[in-house]
């Protein structure tokens, strides 16, 4: 008997595929398409034909990478974003891992309370976090002056959010503080998954807490660490909201906190006197997409394929 074609599979897959195509795949390819066009923004003619886009090939990319007006902002945003990412990976991941290691230890009391408290900021609205930190670090109503003054160090106070040299680090640290709960949760879950037999065996072989962590636990959760790094990478290169909430779209002072996300938003939607430019915006978005794609591919082939996975 000939087997009946499994139509029900198509029926079940259809809604998800349809929605994903309409809202994700189509916009992605349309963005790439628009980035090859240009459009007159100054409105020099009166017949409202200025919305018409003309095909210019890769000219937009040439402007973005090499034209002085645009390339400065592009490379600046890319540099800042890379720095933003490096700070996250080198500070947030180890701290998340450390907290998770503490939380997974058997002797610790009030685990649930700590877990909730540390995860709480990640659930807060970024607008609120931005507003609160703007107030906390304000030169007029802020608290570092008082806190530092209490131990006689008031001279150490600087308007960190307002200085070119420190603004990006400050904002990175705020973001790290807010989202440290997410790597913590992932690492915590991975650590709990390690079977007790393995840990008991290592104990019998004479391993202490620190060596168990370095030689048993860490290698076993390495896939999760890798996953966390790539999630941070994608998240950081799409970051926009915290900068927007704290410094606005000119990403001041002097664009020192400009990320790919804020650069894109300013280009596409416009800000203050700068009018939105849909085609250049699509170019910036495509460039960002390319950067994220390269990073993810590097991770896939250089890291994930080589990593050892252990079956318990």
């Amino acid at each position: 008997m000939k087997k009946k074609f499994p139509y029900h599979i198509i029926v079940f897959l259809f809604p998800a595929c349809f929605i994903y195509t309409i809202f994700m795949i189509f916009p992605l390819f349309d963005t790439l398409r628009i980035s090859f066009y240009t459009q007159d923004l100054m409105g020099s003619n009166l017949d409202n034909t200025t919305g018409v886009r003309t095909f210019t090939g890769i000219n937009n990319y040439r402007i973005l990478f090499f034209d002085e007006l645009w390339s400065y902002h592009f490379w600046n945003a890319l540099k800042n974003n890379t720095y933003f990412f490096i700070l996250h990976v080198s500070i947030q991941t180890p701290i998340g891992l450390l907290i998770a290691a503490f939380l997974s230890s058997k002797e610790l009391k009030f685990k649930g309370t700590y877990r909730t408290l540390i995860f709480l900021p990640a659930m807060m609205s970024i607008v609120i976090v931005g507003y609160i930190f703007n107030l906390i670090l304000s030169n007029l109503w802020g608290i570092p002056q008082t806190l530092l003054g209490a131990v006689g160090l008031e001279n150490l106070y600087q308007p960190w959010l307002g200085l070119k040299e420190t603004a990006l680090i400050t904002i990175s640290l705020i973001s790290i503080w807010q989202f440290v709960g997410i790597p913590m949760m992932l690492f915590y879950a991975a650590l709990l998954n390690i079977p007790d037999e393995v840990l008991e065996a290592s104990k019998i072989d004479g391993s202490n807490g620190i060596t168990t962590f370095w030689y048993i636990k860490l290698p076993l959760i390495m896939p999760t660490v890798g996953l966390m790094v790539i999630l941070t990478y994608v998240g950081n290169f799409n970051a926009f909201d915290l900068i927007f909430a704290i410094r606005g779209l000119y990403a001041g002072p002097e664009f020192s906190t400009d990320l790919m996300g804020t650069f894109f938003y300013r280009t596409f939607f416009g800000f203050q006197h700068q009018l939105g430019n849909p085609t250049m915006g699509a170019t910036v978005a495509s460039a960002t997409f390319g950067i994220i794609l390269i990073g993810v591919l590097l991770y896939l082939f250089a890291f994930q394929k080589r990593i050892t996975r252990y079956q318990y």
Binding site: P159, G162, K164, G270, F271, Q274
Partner: protein
């Protein structure tokens, strides 16, 4: 089941009915969030007293987002019926793209002087696309109680101004100058556009920039930036992170003596400050005979070409040209001076003070607005960045002047 279907049908059709019931609804798009009460409680009720069938809604977007979001809304066809107009090139772009209607045929346009109409006309003057509403002036507000306590008198020249600031600083109890550099637009508008006209001789200098006879690298622009850089000595510690609302609060809480600002602040300050305050005009350079006041044609209102209620909108716009509106507006929103030729009584004392300067000083408008404001990079945006960086000390006045000139020369032929 049948009952369920009929209920559903009724509720769906009622949604459509509800939407069409307000055919005479007008939505005004504005960036003036601070004026929402005045519009909702005084201006719109006064209009409805005459035209009860037209419902008017005053809808605001935060100022820094306004131009960009209005552009997107007009392009997407979701903007309100009436669009509050930024003066000069920003709104001209909207008109040139066919998003605003020409208002040449509107009645009541004779109630405005030509200078008011210039802000919203095409370069050849053939089309007017926004009804002029109000102008704002620049100056310095000061806390009268602090001035009395420290025995200070009102400074007129640059050296008197800094001498006054020195006295306040020596006393140590108050921040001499309430301004920060975190919101670059505020710093530039309240610094550069405030005292600037005294450096570039008002209209003469503004026009010389347009014709290319003067450059931003000329000595008087460097002098202006040098003078602004000196302000940093008198700002609150850590002014680099002080935002515009921070500065407003610093002054209205009575913690600062002088606040460089504009007349639009009168309205909110008279509600928030519990001390007496007044204003003095921008300081002049030492030895300068004339004085110049920036009296910027700031707000107009235009008609969205895609509006479905154009008849009602035109009735509303015509009403805006009347003496009735001018009088209500001038007194409900003190500090915004109606551009109408009607003679109007202004009751607010600080607003009166601002108006009185126009008797002795020549007026001008912001030098970055007309013609030179239409290129890329946007001149206003560059001035914002330059002024803030110069005050922050990360750019010298000479570098700032050179950067401003270079950005204009990038696209503007008379400067190439």
């Amino acid at each position: 089941m049948r009952k369920f279907i009929s209920i559903t049908l009724i509720s769906i059709s009622s949604i459509f009915l509800f939407n069409t019931a307000y055919a005479g609804k007008l939505v005004i798009e504005s960036w003036r969030n601070d004026d929402a009460d005045a519009w909702n409680n005084a201006i719109i009720p006064a209009f409805n007293a005459k035209y009860p069938d037209i419902e008017v809604i005053f809808q605001t977007t935060i100022p820094v987002q306004y131009a960009g979001s209005m552009n997107a809304k007009l392009e997407g066809g979701t903007a309100g019926d009436l669009i509050t107009c930024i003066p000069f090139d920003q709104s001209l772009k909207l008109f040139n793209r066919g998003w605003l209607d020409s208002l040449n045929s509107l009645g009541g346009l004779d109630n405005y002087p030509q200078v008011a109409k210039d802000a919203w006309s095409t370069d050849d003057g053939s089309d007017l696309f926004c009804v002029p509403m109000a102008s704002v002036s620049h100056g310095f507000m000061y806390n009268k109680e602090i001035f009395a306590e420290l025995g200070l008198s009102i400074p007129k020249t640059e050296s008197e101004f800094f001498a006054t600031l020195d006295k306040i600083k020596d006393d140590g109890n108050y921040t001499p100058l309430a301004i920060g550099t975190a919101d670059t637009w505020a710093t530039a508008i309240m610094g550069w556009q405030n005292v600037g006209p005294n450096y570039w001789a008002g209209e003469k200098g503004r026009k010389a920039i347009i014709t290319g006879d003067e450059k931003f690298t000329d000595q008087h622009y460097v002098d202006l930036l040098t003078s602004l850089q000196r302000w940093s000595n008198y700002m609150a510690d850590g002014y680099q992170t002080q935002t515009y609302p921070d500065s407003q609060n610093l002054f209205t809480l009575g913690m600062a003596a002088i606040y460089p600002t504009g007349s639009w602040e009168i309205f909110t300050f008279s509600q928030n400050a519990d001390f007496e305050f007044s204003a003095f005009p921008p300081y002049t350079q030492d030895g300068q005979a004339d004085c110049y006041i920036d009296d910027h044609t700031d707000i107009g209102i235009g008609l969205n070409s895609a509006s479905t209620n154009k008849e009602e909108a035109k009735i509303f716009l015509e009403w805006l040209t009347s003496a009735e509106f001018a009088e209500i507006f001038a007194n409900e929103v003190p500090g915004f001076f109606p551009l109408h030729t009607h003679s109007i009584n202004v009751n607010d004392p600080v607003a009166k003070e601002f108006i009185s300067w126009k008797d002795t000083c020549d007026t001008t408008i912001r030098n970055s607005s007309h013609i030179v404001g239409r290129g890329e990079p946007n001149l206003d945006g560059v001035i914002y960045e330059v002024v803030s960086s110069v005050i922050n000390g990360t750019m010298t006045p000479e570098e700032g002047a050179a950067k401003t000139e270079a950005s204009l020369a990038n696209w503007y032929e008379p400067h190439q």
